[in-house]
């Protein structure tokens, strides 16, 4: 490889690198710094304040009038709820997505292409609009509500503005993120392995458990991560379908940058969100690289 090649390559990469460093790297770095500052009197940040961990402390403790620290579980509950909501959504996406991917892999080439398009289209359509569609379906007086009321004997059911509605909306939003990576594994799968398993007397379910799923594991992990991370930071779905009652991390961050105008505290919550994300990614990477038993 010549030196001019390296130079040319660097020049071609430069715009992309600059854009990402200046508009992703720099903002995240600055946000880390701001999370240590205090909020300004009128605008978002008091740039002259002394850096401290006060904002992180506020996530767990509340300062009383006399300066004693009180245990405050408000934010802890929101953290746990967000993680739980994201985990439930990931699980639902696995339960629904893996069979779809498996079924798609067994179709004819045309069938696969059609299904691929059908699964991809929701991924590209407006997230806000798709969640709004659920709002129409689940709202009071909507036809689904009336149908449920007709079957359910214990009085009217509130379908909207609860954790179940948020789970329905999140699963709906992120299901393609699960189906696509899992399908891409099944598509490349060497089905002769399953034939061999059958020849050796394995039943269908045993072949699925011992041959197919282990090979598909990287796809399952990638899909789980692709669902879990955006779920953690979800804002639109809980805002529309949770109706302000079932808050998630994304909504708390938005509140700090919107009505509460406490940017440093919002920055601290964002940093914690990034940290949870990094922990999840590292855990999965370690699990993937673990030595086979």
């Amino acid at each position: 490889m010549s030196q001019s090649d390296t130079l040319r390559r660097t020049a071609l990469m430069l715009p992309a690198l600059l854009a990402i460093l200046l508009l992703v790297g720099a903002p995240l770095g600055l946000m880390g710094w701001v999370s240590l500052l205090e909020k300004g009197s009128s605008a978002g940040v008091d740039w002259a304040s002394a850096p401290s961990l006060g904002n992180y402390q506020r996530l767990i403790w509340e300062e009383d009038f006399d300066g004693t620290l009180l245990w405050n579980t408000n934010y802890l509950v929101i953290f746990l709820r967000s993680v739980a909501q994201a985990a439930v959504t990931t699980l639902l996406c696995l339960v629904l997505g893996v069979p779809v991917a498996l079924w798609m892999a067994g179709l004819s080439p045309t069938g696969r292409a059609v299904m691929l398009l059908l699964v991809t289209i929701p991924f590209w359509t407006n997230l806000l609009v798709r969640n709004y569609a659920w709002l129409i379906i689940l709202r009071e007086g909507g036809w689904l509500g009336m149908a449920v009321d007709a079957i359910w004997p214990f009085g009217p059911v509130q379908l909207l503005y609860n954790d179940v509605a948020v789970a329905i909306g999140l699963t709906y939003s992120f299901l393609p993120f699960m189906i696509l990576p899992v399908y891409s594994v099944f598509e490349k799968f060497d089905w002769r392995l399953v034939e061999a398993a059958h020849d050796l007397g394995a039943t269908r379910s045993r072949a699925l458990r011992r041959v197919i799923l282990p090979v598909a594991m990287p796809g399952l992990l990638a899909g789980s991560l692709l669902v879990f991370i955006p779920c953690l930071g979800a804002f639109v779905t809980p805002a529309l379908l949770g109706g302000g009652k079932t808050l998630m991390l994304g909504n708390v961050i938005q509140m700090q940058f919107g009505p509460s105008r406490n940017w440093p505290f919002g920055a601290a919550i964002s940093v914690v969100l990034l940290a949870i994300m990094l922990v999840a990614m590292t855990a999965l990477a370690l699990w993937r690289n673990r030595r086979p038993a």
Binding site: L30, A43, L96, G97, N126, A133, L175, W191, R204
Partner: protein
């Protein structure tokens, strides 16, 4: 026995298709409903479409969305095309470069959006269309990059070698050989970047500033104010545009090489 068939996977798949598409059809159906209370069906009408055409704030928001999507997608496509040419052949650091390019896909959007808000306010970039174009360009890069890169991988290097043997210089080779072979990928990348920008809500929500709403930001505040048939109509328009453009991009990536 077909070893590729598994019990229940077909039923689950049909359920998932209904789950994915039912809300879309419900929304489209209601958008043609004449009744003012968005959930009671009376008879079909195009009233709400006429009404959104005549709504000045929707027109302004549509214009902003289009300017934003065209600018961000163009910038992102140019940047992604250059990056795809750079990462065409293996070199030390290619994996790292590609991870960096995909970074905007991995990070939670709300975190990048508020961080960008902090940076723009700190360095004095005024919120509004310009700020949104900058931020959208970055998260559009990976969407433009992937189809271009995929197309480039399918182009054999021997065409370019032949051109260079015939004394075409690097630029001429690129313009007359590589680009004509690459254009479906470039167009597919542009389309995906355009759709991504057009549909974005969160980043615009934080960076739009007073006076410059985009269509998704307008829809969000309208939903907050109360569900109306106009929202159904404008949402349907957005859905149809996205579906058409993504299908176009899908067709482009399947064009014969």
């Amino acid at each position: 026995m077909n070893i590729r068939r598994f019990p229940l996977t077909r039923e689950v798949s049909l359920f998932v298709l209904v789950y994915l598409y039912l809300p879309v059809f419900v929304l489209i159906g209601y958008s043609f409903n004449a009744n003012r209370t968005a959930t009671v069906w009376t008879h079909a009408s195009l009233d709400w479409y006429v009404r959104i055409l005549n709504n000045p704030s929707i027109r302004a928001a549509t214009w902003n969305s289009l300017v934003l999507a065209v600018s961000a997608a163009t910038a992102a496509t140019v940047i992604a095309l250059l990056a795809a040419l750079a990462t065409r052949r293996a070199f030390p650091g290619r994996n790292a470069s590609e991870t960096l390019l995909r970074l905007p896909l991995i990070l939670p959007e709300i975190v990048v959006a508020v961080a960008t808000l902090i940076l723009f306010v700190a360095v004095g970039i005024e919120l509004g269309l310009g700020a949104m174009i900058l931020a959208h360009t970055v998260f559009c890069i990976p969407f433009a990059y992937l189809p271009i890169r995929a197309r480039l991988e399918g182009i054999s290097g021997s065409y370019e070698e032949a051109a260079q043997d015939l004394y075409a210089n690097r630029f001429r080779t690129f313009r007359r050989v590589t680009l004509p072979l690459l254009w479906p990928g470039v167009l597919a990348g542009f389309t995906l970047a355009f759709v991504t920008s057009l549909d974005d809500f969160l980043t615009s929500f934080f960076l739009s500033g007073p006076g410059t709403t985009t269509l998704p930001v307008y829809i969000f505040s309208a939903i907050r104010a109360g569900i109306t048939p106009e929202i159904n109509a404008i949402s349907t328009v957005m859905l149809v545009i996205s579906i058409l453009l993504v299908s176009l991009s899908f067709a482009l990536t399947r064009l014969r090489r």
